[in-house]
């Protein structure tokens, strides 16, 4: 949509900003799952984007069998994805626990390859869509159109992000997961089942990816190869937000969603992507610790 066609530039901007928020909210779930695994294992899970893709197909496939609204399918997709997350941990993380972090990076690239081609086999190359969370209607706020699906994405993402915060801040399980992420040896010494906590982290990350996939695939459809672009955005969000920061990852994802939507509206999607990657390179060169800063320089 080009802005000239809209009635006022302010309305157009508001509309785009809202669209960007909805996109960013879905990205936030991807980035959050990425950073959870990163903290728990110090390793990059490169299959996180492909897990989103699987979540999208999962929702679409489930809808074909169970004609229920998206909101009812969502918990089922998340539960199934949690199991897939456990499988990823068992196949691609635990055997490499004592190896350099780049080994996990590579093993998760392999998992991504398996997921992509598995999806291609089962579902074929045509894009699929999952059912909307509630219904296909929309809300009008002045001239700004707020589709229910976009509102639902923002709401679901907010609930999941806050839920994850609550889990970490107020539950024994969350505290144990955080302790494992901070210092594995110390956590083990305190009797925390470290492997179990890491497995749970993978499950949680995959469930978040699944939710993201189910939400995104209604509007944007899902194809077997979409994971690559998503992981890159999650990765960038985490860099912008400060490596390892959960809040930073969510903020970074929202920022990327807005950036992409706004820049694409004026200059096209290619320019938006090129600028995003260009900005990433500049950020990495100038401020590798991100905007919010990593943990302070280590005392030697």
């Amino acid at each position: 949509m080009s802005p000239e066609k809209s009635r006022g530039s302010m309305t157009a901007f508001m509309q785009l900003a809202f669209n960007g928020l909805a996109l960013g909210a879905a990205y936030a779930l991807v980035a959050l799952g990425f950073v959870l695994v990163l903290n728990a294992t110090s390793a990059v899970n490169f299959a996180q984007g492909d897990l989103v893709m699987v979540g999208g197909y999962g929702a679409a496939a489930l809808a074909a069998v169970l004609p229920l609204p998206g909101i009812a399918l969502l918990p089922m997709v998340m539960a199934a994805m949690a199991l897939l997350g456990l499988a990823v941990a068992a196949l691609a993380y635990f055997p490499l626990m004592r190896r350099p972090a780049s080994a996990v990076f590579i093993s998760t690239i392999a998992v991504g390859l398996l997921l992509q081609n598995g999806a291609l086999h089962i579902f074929g190359p045509e894009p699929r869509a999952a059912p909307p969370v509630l219904s296909g209607g929309q809300l009008h706020l002045g001239h700004v159109v707020l589709p229910y699906q976009s509102l639902a994405i923002v709401a679901v993402a907010a609930v999941l992000v806050l839920g994850q915060r609550w889990l970490f801040a107020h539950t024994q399980l969350g505290r144990r997961m955080r302790a494992t992420a901070q210092d594995r040896e110390m956590a083990a010494a305190l009797g925390i089942p470290v492997r179990g906590m890491i497995a749970l982290t993978f499950a949680l990350a995959a469930a978040l990816a699944g939710a993201s996939g189910a939400l995104l695939s209604n509007q944007f459809f899902v194809t077997p190869t979409e994971g690559g672009a998503l992981i890159l955005k999650a990765y960038i969000a985490v860099v912008i937000g400060g490596w390892g920061s959960l809040e930073g990852a969510v903020l970074g994802a929202l920022l990327i969603g807005e950036f992409e939507t706004l820049v694409a509206a004026w200059f096209g999607y290619t320019v938006a992507s090129a600028l995003l990657y260009g900005a990433l390179l500049v950020i990495l060169m100038a401020r590798p610790q991100g905007f919010y800063g990593e943990a302070a320089e280590r005392r030697a």
Binding site: A110, G112, L114, Q116, L232, I236, W243
Partner: protein, 597 residues
């Protein structure tokens, strides 16, 4: 010829026999292959070159670059544009195809190679995405999404190499040249220097090797090889599109390297041939080949970290006789004679801040030749920070460090190590997969600039020079009583031997000043006594020593002077017995920690 002289020749033949056999098989296959088979064989050759290049940065330097696919694509596009559009021959387009990605790598190297693992991977991935977008949206220049067709075959001085067997021969000649260069660069001590970089970057800096320079050289070579591979690919296919630059090219290259083996020549051949032919063999299982690809990559990274080539080498080694390696005879080196006059080390106003904490607040100190300065202080008083700043392992936040009148404040760790300041670390900085003899030998070679690809090209890191460095290394190991461990892997070294190896590695660089960080921790009393005698012996030779230590019964008798740090400041300095009685010291440190007689 005597049988003793014949043995190495025969062994050399034995080493080469599999290669000769493989080359003959390849030639026999090529002679009988169909045109399609020849095309696949040529494409496989291009992949071998791509993987050989990736071995430099990923295998040897140990950095996960995700730009190798993009460099390949750039090489392919350059050849397509120069050959297809401007009608230039191979001799013009091939060098430019190699040069273009290398220049791009050089341009981004300075900021990118500094980055830690994940950031480096992401930055190179970002670069690849930008390159790919540029290819798709390059308009008429890159042919857009359709790409460029009509790329000519290989043309030498107006003579077109015939497609089919001729093209295969030309491609595999390039493979042979690339292999020769690769082996030449990495089989000597330089290859082992990269193993230090992978295994323990601190150890690399400590023996005077610049991490930056080693990584840069590997990155440039990998880009150049990728460009060459891309150029060959373009000549073989005759078409170049954005698919030549897709992430799948990168993933395939990574898989070939991991599955074949990331540092061995055979690994590049095994990985590239296997993964090029796997989809051909699995043709009946249309579409499942990429699944098999992913499964093979996962299986390799989990079960065979050194790849098929590494596993084969291990199996062969297990089958063969285990000859007990002969220790080199130690060289006899002259006793070093340091010049006298100036103070050895003068530190003025040295400061360092970590966020809000001032770790060092303007510290002054001097060390003379033949002097042992003991540095004590409570935990967090700035002792290790002092060592890190003087040796360049952390940037200073103010102040100057002068070594024999030369300002070394701004130098990097490897330069300072070569300028004459050696150091040990609280945890010995020894690369796990190298032998004791290797690490000390590398320190000797580093001192004479015999490491790095330039030295390797000139042959300075092999044969007689290597033997001399080994003999000299044995001298230092023997003088520390560690010659018995020469062939032990650093990873399996007992704690009581590690300090001997660390000091041998330090002395091998012929330092003027030696900084030891808690050398006595974990040692028995007898070992501590031997360490103390060693330190006195080094001081008598004219070396200055700075010894950081908590163990007072060890340090006080051995030190000439003691410097007491507390909260980043010197609170006392003087002879051990003076410091021992200084009330400020007793209240700040000694009184709390150690009961003093």
């Amino acid at each position: 010829m005597s049988s003793a002289a014949l043995a190495p020749t025969l062994r050399g033949l034995g080493d080469r026999a599999p290669w000769v056999l493989a080359a003959l098989c390849l030639a026999a296959y090529a002679a009988t292959a169909s045109p399609y088979g020849l095309r696949v064989l040529a494409l496989a050759g291009a992949q071998v070159v791509l993987v050989l290049g990736y071995q430099f940065i990923f295998g040897h330097a140990g950095a996960l670059s995700l730009a190798q696919g993009a460099f390949f694509g750039i090489g392919a596009y350059v050849t397509a544009i120069l050959g297809g559009r401007y009608g230039l021959g191979f001799l013009a387009s091939f060098p430019v195809s190699i040069l273009a990605p290398s220049l791009l790598a050089a341009a981004i190297a300075a900021p990118v190679l500094r980055l830690a693992t994940h950031y480096f991977a992401l930055a190179t991935l970002g670069l690849a995405q930008v390159a790919s977008l540029a290819a798709v949206n390059g308009g008429a220049f890159t042919g857009g999404a359709l790409g460029i067709t009509g790329v000519p075959g290989i043309v030498f001085f107006g003579w077109a190499v015939p497609r089919g067997l001729g093209l295969v021969a030309a491609v595999w000649l390039v493979v042979a040249a690339a292999s020769w260069l690769s082996v030449h660069l990495t089989r000597g001590l330089t290859g082992r220097a990269y193993a230090v970089l992978r295994g323990n970057p601190l150890a690399a800096s400590a023996i005077g090797l610049s991490e930056q320079r080693l990584r840069l050289a590997a990155f440039l070579l990998s880009a150049g090889y990728a460009g060459a591979a891309g150029a060959l690919h373009a000549h073989i296919l005759g078409v170049v599109s954005s698919e030549s630059m897709a992430f799948s090219v990168m993933v395939a290259c990574l898989a070939m390297t991991v599955i074949g083996g990331s540092t061995r020549l055979a690994g590049a051949f095994i990985g590239a041939l296997l993964l090029t032919y796997l989809p051909e063999w699995l043709r009946s299982l249309e579409g499942y080949s990429l699944l098999a690809f992913g499964a093979a990559l996962l299986a390799a990274i989990v079960a065979a970290p050194t790849g098929i080539a590494g596993a084969l080498a291990k199996a062969v080694a297990a089958l063969g006789r285990t000859e007990r390696p002969i220790l080199p005879t130690p060289a006899e080196l002259p006793v070093p004679q340091g010049p006298s006059g100036l103070s050895l080390l003068v530190v003025r106003g040295l400061a360092k801040r970590f966020g809000g904490i001032e770790a060092l607040k303007g510290l002054d100190l001097t060390i003379d030749r033949g002097e042992i300065l003991g540095v004590i202080g409570p935990n967090g008083s700035g002792k290790t920070t002092l060592a890190n700043l003087v040796t360049g392992f952390a940037p200073t936040g103010g102040g100057t460090v002068i070594l024999e009148g030369r300002n070394i404040t701004a130098l990097g760790a490897s330069e300072i190590a070569r300028a004459g300041v050696g150091r040990s670390f609280q945890n010995p900085a020894l690369p796990p997969e190298l032998t004791v003899l290797e690490i000390v030998t590398l320190a000797r070679a580093s001192l004479e600039d015999d490491l790095g690809f330039r030295a390797a090209l000139a042959g300075r890191d092999r044969s007689d020079r290597r033997e001399r460095h080994e003999a000299e290394a044995m001298y230092f190991l023997r003088s520390l009583g560690a010659d018995g461990y020469a062939h032990a892997l650093c990873a399996s070294l007992p704690y009581r031997a590690a300090w001997r190896v660390e000091i041998a590695r330090i002395l091998a660089l012929e330092p003027k000043l030696v900084i030891l960080d808690e050398p006595a921790s974990g040692l028995t009393e007898a070992e501590q006594g031997e360490l103390a005698r060693t330190l006195r012996r080094l001081a008598r030779l004219g070396l200055g020593l700075l010894v950081i230590e908590h163990n007072m019964p060890f340090l006080l008798p051995v030190a000439d002077r003691i410097l007491v740090l507390d909260e980043g400041r010197a609170i006392a300095s003087g002879k051990p017995e003076e410091v021992r009685q200084n009330p400020a010291v007793i209240s700040a440190y000694l009184g709390r920690k150690v009961g003093l007689a």
